[in-house]
Amino acid sequence: MRRQESIFAGIDWVTVILYLILVLIGWVNIYAAVYNEEHQSILDTSQRYGKQLIWIGLSLFVAFIIMIIDGKFYSTFAIPIYVVLLLVLVVVLVTARDVSGARSWIDIGSFKLQPSEFAKSTTALALAYYLSTLNIRMEDLSTKLVAAIILIIPAALILLQNDTGSALVFGSFALVMYREGLSGNFLLFGLAMAVIFIFSLLFTPLIMLYILGTIGVLVFFFQRKKTWRLAFSIGAALIVLMGMVYSVDYVFNEVLEPHQQVRIDVLLGKKDDLKGAGYNVNQSKIAIGSGGFAGKGFLKGTQTKYDFVPEQTTDFIFCTVGEEWGFLGAFLVIALFSALILRIVFVSERQKSSFARIYGYCVASVLLFHFIINVGMTIGLMPVIGIPLPFFSYGGSSLLGFTILLFIFVKLDGYRLQQLR
């Protein structure tokens, strides 16, 4: 029998304290965003900050439960947990009602949960379990295929729920696979695809042909050996790339929904639609930009308080930070997030078990993805993709999901030391 205090014995307090600070700051900003004179009690559960307080309590309780469960549980039951959540996703897809276009909610009594928020943890567990199996090498094609399938199934189910943002999150696991030996060329290829995607949207296929053709000719002339073989390869690459350009055109025009097309157009600066799709981003930038260096002060933010910024407690919570606390506040929040992610990477690397390390990288990648997309979108660097800012955004499923994601890792890290004893 272990003693009770051993639950906290190997805990990485740096991670836990960063988590607690972020949750606290997040709550303060939710309070500020919905603050009005009539409801001043922080426990008023008719208001979002009151509800969020309940979710915070619940999350801390769940974190505690995670910590007392045996560390071996997570690797042992990784696959069953993964499968169960996939089933839940299917059930949601079949039964859920439409909530503003998305069918991702499940009612449990008076609570509403969004299972996709938990799919990130379960998929991370499954991926970590699979990749840490003996004799699995990332370099093998079969490994890549299986890993891809593990990611694609939940992503596809979530995509079918019409929650594109949450589905895209699964792309972030590419970073995990890169750490485990996936060739860097895959990431570069992905990056190149993204660049070509953007350029294809900006220019017509004919101009793209000129651009790519010029690059090809330049590459050819800067090579020492100008062989027929080289010329042939470049020609082939050109044909493939042009095929891509046309397929991007096709995907953009035929596959993407009109509102998604507009969002991308706005981001690329092709459209300046301040009343429609550009409204959110413009108002968000105004709120943050008007904060100045030191901010307007707690509860003094006019843009967020008077509802100029839409979704200000959820996806656009960072606006309240930027407006009321200024550059200094935004600096602090960005520093805290970066510190947390770097800490997780650092802690992951000290793991003896590859399961814990891979899982740690999954946590870091998911947090990083959310951070980039969410903050990037509020300051106009990323398209408007509705995903929450971890620990900050209002919403029980999101807070609970990220807490579980993080605390399983905290538990795994603590378990490492327990094993040594």
Binding site: S132, L175, Y178, R179, E180, G181, G184, Q283, K285, I286, A287, I288, G289, S290, G291, G292, F293, T302, Q303, Y306, D307, F308, G322, G326, F327, A330, F331, I334, A335, F337, S338, I341, L342, V345, F346, S348, E349, K352, S353, S354, R357, Y361, A364, L368, F371, I372, V375, G376, I379, G380, L381
Partner: protein, 613 residues
């Protein structure tokens, strides 16, 4: 069983991405939060609304406390296009009496200016329309009624002087940040000269609104709010009764009357005929009426009293030559000249009319003898031996009476007239290739001289004062406090006090038997005057008369100018004498005499060309 990690170094790639992202975000945040100021403005535009409170424009009174200009409430229908959604257009059009197309066009125009800021949708809606609208307005989101004031004139007089108020135009908006689109500003007359005093100060309430434009309270507890300050009351120097009488006398004539209180330079009446009712240039009818007045061939908008500068002063100018002659020492009270029915020098002859001869200085004014002043003027110009020097001395004396210059007081659009320089003659005749005889017509106030009726009235005031004047001006007091500025600074003429007496005596004799103004005499009052005739190459001569009264301690000095009125004694003198009687006696004793003038219609029956004096 520990797995040997093979790619530990890749943790640095991961960490590098995190740090790169953090730096990118911080750079971007620094740019939009600290460097780029535009977001702060946009935020204010989102939240802050400036509700303007318009102060009441100041009232204008005449010198006796009679109201000349006051305000009347009017209502502008305003619209904030952004909020004007789900409007019952049909009902709105019905109330306003406009077609749907016009309604939509107006809304589009307002939107083109600004979709967030309120714009005038319909100016000065009637009281009836306002009453109908008021009941429905709560359902017409984005529309509201703003109370404005319109100027009203209890008497239809002094349109030229009072001026009018209109919406600030583009150029005013660009040059003066006080004015916003739709604000009213004084465009002409006193409304323009005293705009800053009359307009008062706009007040502003800064409020915060939410995204639905619902009021959310005052910005910073009203720290930036200001209270509207009503415009100041302006007391004009005008005598409304005299002004009205002058306008009556000038009816159906073109010309001007300017009456000045010599002791102060205060303008008692300033009439330009034909005139117009200032009420015509108010509110919605203004632009329509304005273009009618603008097209009128008699040019009612042209203020002849201040702007008619081409006409020579005629014989009224002889009094000035009499003064200058004494000052330079070529003339004294006993100097006599013969008049062989004209001034003769060699083969040159300048005609005169029939009167006894020879005449002394006083009589020369009474009879307006051309020969006398031909001699005087030549002596003045030639007294140094060099005509150009003599001319320059003469010219400086003339300028000291306010001729050839602008007074630059509070009068609207005044012209300078002309007293030619030696340079002008040097250029015209060749340097020093001219002599006194060349420019002899100026001896009798003809030739290249140009004077405005205002300048003649001021010259008369300077003579009445025996040597000085105050710049003629239109405002006495602001908010009950007498003005004290350069208008109240005494301007000395260059003529010594003692030289005025014989000239004034001569001007008094004008109203005596044999004088050119005898017909217009007043038995009960000693008046001083001088007739003048401005030669007019285009038609009948212009009738001019200058006059002041009483002879001792003068109360009023005036100049009358009647276009195509013939000799000065014909219309100028009677009108001047009636004005004096009106001002000093309040009732007109010479009813028949007055009737002739009131009935005279020089516009439909222009007189034929006759002899000149």
């Amino acid at each position: 069983m520990a797995y040997q990690p093979k790619h530990t170094e890749r943790m640095y790639v991961m960490m590098g991405i995190v740090i790169l992202v953090a730096i990118t975000f911080l750079g971007r945040l620094f740019y939009i939060q600290v460097i780029d100021e535009s977001y702060r403005l946009s935020a204010d535009n989102n939240v802050l609304r400036y509700q303007v409170e318009f102060p009441a424009r100041g009232l204008i009174y005449d010198r006796n406390g009679e109201l000349l200009v006051f305000n009347e409430a009017a209502y502008d229908l305003m619209v904030t296009p952004r909020q004007a959604i789900n409007i019952d257009t049909a009902e709105m059009c019905q109330i306003l009496g406009m077609s749907r197309e016009v309604f939509i066009q107006k809304l589009d125009e307002a939107r083109a200016y600004s979709s967030r800021k309120p714009t005038v949708f319909q100016k000065q809606i009637s009281g009836v329309t306002y009453a109908k609208l008021q009941e429905k307005l709560y359902r017409m989101s984005g529309f509201f009624v703003q109370k404005r004031t319109l100027r009203k004139y209890p008497q239809p007089i002094a349109g030229h002087l009072l001026g009018y108020v209109g919406e600030a135009n583009q150029s005013i908006l660009e040059h003066n940040s006080y004015y916003k689109k739709g604000d009213y500003v004084g465009i002409s007359g006193l409304e323009k000269s005293y705009e800053e005093e009359l307009r008062g100060k706009k007040g502003v309430r800064v409020i915060m609104v939410d995204v639905f434009n619902r009021e959310k309270g005052r910005y910073k507890e009203g720290k930036y709010d200001t209270v509207a300050v009503a415009g100041k009351t302006v007391t004009s120097t005008l005598d409304a009764e005299l002004q009205a009488y002058g306008e009556r006398l000038m009816k159906n004539k073109t010309g001007a009357i300017v009456a000045i209180e010599p002791a102060t330079g205060e303008i008692l009446a300033l009439i330009s005929a034909p005139t117009y009712d200032p009420n015509l240039l108010v509110g919605r009818v203004r632009s329509q009426n304005y273009s009618i007045l603008l097209k009128d061939t008699l040019k009612p908008l042209f203020n002849r009293a201040l702007m008619s500068e081409q006409n020579p002063p005629g014989s009224t100018f002889k009094v000035l030559n009499a003064l200058i002659g004494q000052q330079v020492g070529v003339l004294n009270v006993n100097t006599q000249y013969r008049c062989p029915r004209g001034y003769v020098s060699g083969r040159f002859r300048m005609g005169c009319h029939d009167h006894r001869s020879p005449l002394n200085l006083r009589e020369s004014i009474q009879h307006s003898c051309n020969a006398y002043y031909g001699n005087v003027f030549r002596n003045i110009i030639d007294h140094t031996g060099k005509p150009w020097e003599g001319y320059e001395i003469w010219r400086n004396h003339v300028l000291s009476f306010g001729l050839g210059i602008k007074f630059n007081t509070d009068l609207p659009m005044e012209y300078a007239g002309s007293v030619p320089t030696t340079k002008f003659y040097d250029k015209y005749y060749g340097e020093h290739r001219w002599k006194s005889l060349t420019i002899i017509s100026m001896a009798i106030g003809q030739g290249e001289l140009g004077t405005t009726p205002l300048q003649l009235a001021n010259m008369t005031a300077a003579i009445a004062n025996r040597g000085y004047y105050y710049p003629p001006h239109l405002v006495k007091a602001i908010d009950g406090e007498a003005i004290s500025n350069r208008f109240t600074e005494k301007q000395m003429t260059t003529i010594n006090r003692e030289y005025f007496d014989p000239v004034v005596d001569g001007m008094a004799m004008v109203f005596q038997q044999g004088g050119t103004g005898y017909r217009s005499r007043l038995d009960s009052l000693e008046m001083c005057g001088k007739t003048g005739t401005a030669q007019n190459p285009h038609g009948e001569d212009h009738s001019i008369f200058i006059c002041f009264a009483p002879k001792d301690n003068p109360q009023i000095a005036l100049a009358v100018f009647v276009e195509n009125g013939g000799g000065g004694s014909k219309y100028g003198a009677p009108i001047a004498s009636l004005m004096v009687e009106k001002y000093l006696r309040d009732t007109i004793s010479r009813v028949e005499f007055e009737k002739v003038i009131l009935d005279a219609d020089l516009i439909t029956n222009p007189p034929k060309k006759k002899e000149t004096h």
